[in-house]
Every structure is written in structure tokens, then in C-alpha cells.
Symmetry: C2
């Protein structure tokens, strides 16, 4: 039997070694090197290459390579098998800390001062007097982030598809709730799962409802943001800045306008990285569940998207 | 009667207007424009110019322009009058937030990514796995900063001249305590008052006790740091970086090595700025206390230095 790692464009050799140690009885293969396609039963996958599934008729379980599952369905629909994802308990803490760090960076003008330092300019300026944060998405990551910001004195609101109640967080839902929250957000943080409904949610229409001093933070998926709408909103001074950790195309292409835009801060998808040990543990556990015919841990509804 | 503002090299006209509104019965003057030196009874002062005091024989009260009082005694000793300082209750909150923001900036490598963004380099890197903070000085600012870092999951130690006990903070004191704390500090934050004992406390000998990945943060006074010792420690890889908001000479001179050092982050003394409204309120209150012969608020021992 075999477990296939199908994560194109990334070096998976370290993970292969660790999974071979954890599951010594089976073969761990890295796409496209497959000894016998009929023996592949478990696939760990992100951005599946074309025609991956049609050559693998005996799949019994699939796991996303990360917390999101939007990278699973790229070219073809998934085979009929249960789908799990990796849930790293530290991921939400890391994400919350990244968002807090970036908000403080913006509020305290640390990037502005960094640019001035490079020009040897001593120009003191008071911090932005902004403290209202609106969070799109109140799942595990959104809730944790909301709680951490709240603990640090920020006034936090959150928006989700269905109605929610969280202590000390003003909760909004639905289309009207989205606009209402935007109106009073100094910082708008996207932590939504990527679905047909949330794709392009960060668009020009929404930006127009934000205060002019607002800053957009996208740490979810590049496809949540209409990139040209962001440039237009910045040019028209509808918003003040943007902090982006995710992009439509990653790595961000060299000729992309975001790289050198003075009011856009880019980081290379580092807001929350799943630890390799967590991946190995959860994949090994789910392989054993599959073998015993037990339900997978961290099972998701691939059609719903989360 | 007159209140003299003696804060050279800063525009004090706005403060003069606000103080004139608050104390309409007296003259508010800005050094060196003094109508009658014999009438000056109250002096609000920072970095007093030479021979200030000898021409003002009738001083009944002095106030520092800020929270520190080290800027009071520059050229001559102070006249024999009670000395107060400005205590802005928001100052400690602002300072704590600045230190948290800079530590997160360093931990999450936000400045590194900013430099890479300018070069269009997509190079993901995990955050520093550092969480131990040592704080020099456990007064109002140090304690508040320690508490905020603690709340955000950092492991916080503090050092003070005399023994202290604070919940959840490992407290050190004395020369041995200083070295012991340094040994286990990923971040070493200076929030000490400037006195003869603390001048130059951030020196090469201390840096040698820090871990090689450590980062120094000085938000107290430029004179706490031996600037050449910092350069030597960075060159010798005894420490990893430094974040400085205060300098021996401010503004930092154009030819200073700190400006373009790749491992030093400089901000222009903005970590905690006293609000002008707080200054007006407390000066007006202390002027009235002086008139009625009541003790000043926020009185300090000018000889002790705090």
C-alpha cells in the first residue's frame, strides 16, 4: 500500500522521511514518482496537478496539506472519499499574534519610521489613534484573533455568515451586517474560508464603506481580494493602507504592482505556518483510522468548503 | 506674576496659548523672552539653558516637561524649590504598546520582510521562537510593560535596584541579578530612570551575558547605552539586533552609524509622547498648589533622580 504526497512546487523530502518513520509498513511516495498507481490509498494534497485522480482508482482517504481546503479542488472534482485537513492547535495562536503584530506595526507607524530611517530622517509623529477592528470570519482563527485584540484594548467586531455570539465581540452577519461593520472598522481583517460566497469579498464596493483612514489586512486567501479594486481604493484615498500575506498568485510575480506600492505591506504567506511535526502526527493518525475503517479526524465537508 | 516655559529648541506656542487659557490671571512667557525676571515664580523646564536660574531669584516651584527628570539638571544645580514632573496616565499604556509592537515586529521578522519587499524577494521564513523578555526597571512604565507582555504569552522577568515582587514576573535585583536575568533574556528592554547608577548600564560586559539571538530595546534614555559597545556587540555577533527610540544626541546626527546599520531599528523618540492636554492640566493644578502653599502633585526627589 502507498501514501502519496501530491504538493507540487515544494520540497517534500523531509516530510517523506518523517512519514516513512511514522508509517514504516507502507510506501511514502512523492508525486509524480508513483511506483504503482493502483496501490495508492491515501493522498496528502495541495493544488493537485491535472489528471491526478483519474490514475488513482483506489483512494480511500484524502487530506489537505493545510488548514484550508480551497487548494484541494483545482482542476477536477475530488474522488469519492472522506476528506480531512490539518488542524494545528498553534496555528490560531500564531495567526492572532501575526495580526496583532501587523496592527501595532501600522498603528505605531513602524514601517513609516523604517522608510525614514533609510533616508536618515528624524521626523517624530504620534501613533494613529485607531482602535476599532472588524474581523471577517469567526471560525477558530477569527475568534482567537478577536480575543487577543480585545485583550490588548482594541474594540473588536466580527462578521460571519450565520449569527454568532462571542463575549466582548460585537457580532454581525449577513450582507447588511457586513456594511455596518465596515463603516466602523479602522482595521478590517479577512480570516474567512475561501468559498464561492466569500471569493472577492474584499472589493471596491466594500472599501467605499470603510473610513478613509482604514487599513485592510488579508491573511486568508489571495482570492478574497479583487487586487485591482485595492489599487483603485488606495489611489482614490478611500482607504489608507493594506497589509497582505496572501495573493492571487504566489509567489507574488516580480512585475506585480503590490511589491513597490508605498501603502501596501507584503509578507510571503508566513502569517501562520503549520509545523511539520503536526502534519506527520495527524497524517499518521488518519492513515490508521482509514485502515481500521474508522472516521477520519478533522473531517471536512468538501462541498461546503470548510 | 509669571510662569516661564524654558524648553529650548521646541515650538511652545501652542502650549503657551493653552496655559494662558487655563491660568488667565498670570503671564505665560517662553524663554528667552522674559519681561521681568523678578516676577517669574514657576518654571516648566527641559534641558535648561546656561545661566537660566541665576537670573530668576524668586522661583517657588519647578516642573519637568516630561515624566523623566534627568533633563532638569544640565548646566547648573536647581534652585531651592520643590520639583514636580508630568505624570500622564496614558504614557505607561503607550510605552507598553510600543514595546509589545517592536517585540512582535522583531519576532515576526516584519522589518526583514519589509527590506525583502523593497527588493521584490519572496522568501518565507518562520517567526523567531523567542518569548523571554527581561525588563530593566520596574517602575510605572516597566511594570505596565511587563504585565502587557505577560498577558500576550511572553515569559517576563524584571530587574530593579531594590527587591520587588510582582505577580507572574520573575523579579531580580542587584548586580548578580542583572547578569542572571540577562542570561535568559531573548529581549532586553531598558525602562530605567537615568541616574548616576544606571548611566551606561547597557554596555559590552552586559551584552556578553545575553544569548547570541538577543535583541536590545532601549526606550528610556540615550545615556543608558554605550553606543560603541552596541556596535561592537553586533559586529561580534554577541547579540542579534537592537531597537532604539532614544539616543545620546537627539535628533540623531546625520553621520551616525546607527541610521543605516542593518541590525539596528531607530525610531525618533516616539515610544510614549505626553499629551499636551495632560501637561496643561497638571501645570495649572501645580501652579494653584504653589500659590496656596500646598505641596505639589507628582513631586520628585531631584537628588535621587526619580
Amino acid at each position: 500500500m502507498s501514501l502519496l504526497i501530491a504538493v507540487p512546487n515544494r520540497d517534500m523530502t523531509k516530510l517523506q522521511i518523517l512519514l516513512s518513520d511514522a508509517l514504516p509498513e507502507i510506501l511514502i511516495e512523492i508525486w509524480p514518482e508513483i511506483v504503482d498507481p493502483l496501490k495508492v490509498e491515501f493522498v496528502l494534497v495541495w493544488n493537485p496537478p491535472k489528471n491526478l485522480w483519474c490514475n488513482l482508482p483506489n483512494i480511500k482517504a484524502i487530506s489537505s496539506f493545510g488548514a484550508g481546503v480551497d487548494g484541494l479542488i483545482k482542476n477536477e472534482p475530488l474522488p469519492n472519499a472522506p476528506v480531512a485537513r490539518i488542524v494545528d492547535p498553534k496555528l490560531a495562536d500564531d495567526m492572532a499574534l501575526y495580526v496583532l503584530g501587523q496592527i501595532l506595526n501600522f498603528k505605531l507607524r513602524l514601517n513609516e519610521f523604517h522608510v525614514k530611517q533609510q533616508k536618515k530622517l528624524w521626523q517624530p509623529k504620534r501613533a494613529h489613534q485607531t482602535s476599532k477592528v472588524g474581523i471577517l470570519g469567526l471560525g477558530q482563527l477569527g475568534t482567537k484573533t478577536a480575543e487577543l485584540l480585545n485583550l490588548n484594548g482594541f474594540e473588536v467586531s466580527g462578521w460571519s455568515r450565520s449569527e454568532k455570539k462571542i463575549n466582548n465581540i460585537t457580532c454581525y452577519h449577513g450582507d447588511e451586517g457586513l456594511i455596518e461593520m465596515a463603516k466602523s472598522s479602522d482595521y478590517l481583517v479577512c480570516l474567512l474560508p475561501l468559498t464561492e460566497q466569500t471569493k472577492g469579498i474584499l472589493n471596491y464596493e466594500l472599501f467605499q464603506h470603510l473610513p478613509n483612514h482604514a487599513c485592510i489586512i488579508n491573511v486568508a486567501r489571495g482570492e478574497h481580494l479583487i487586487e485591482n479594486d485595492l489599487l483603485k481604493a488606495l489611489d482614490n484615498n478611500e482607504i489608507l493602507g493594506a497589509i497582505l500575506d496572501v495573493f492571487q498568485t504566489e509567489p507574488l510575480p516580480k512585475d506585480h504592482e503590490f511589491w513597490l506600492h508605498p501603502r501596501i505591506i507584503c509578507t510571503p504567506h508566513t502569517s501562520a505556518l503549520t509545523s511539520i511535526n503536526t502534519i506527520v502526527e495527524q497524517i499518521a493518525e488518519n492513515y490508521q483510522h482509514m485502515e481500521k475503517g474508522e472516521p477520519l479526524i478533522n473531517l471536512i465537508d468538501a462541498k461546503l468548503g470548510y
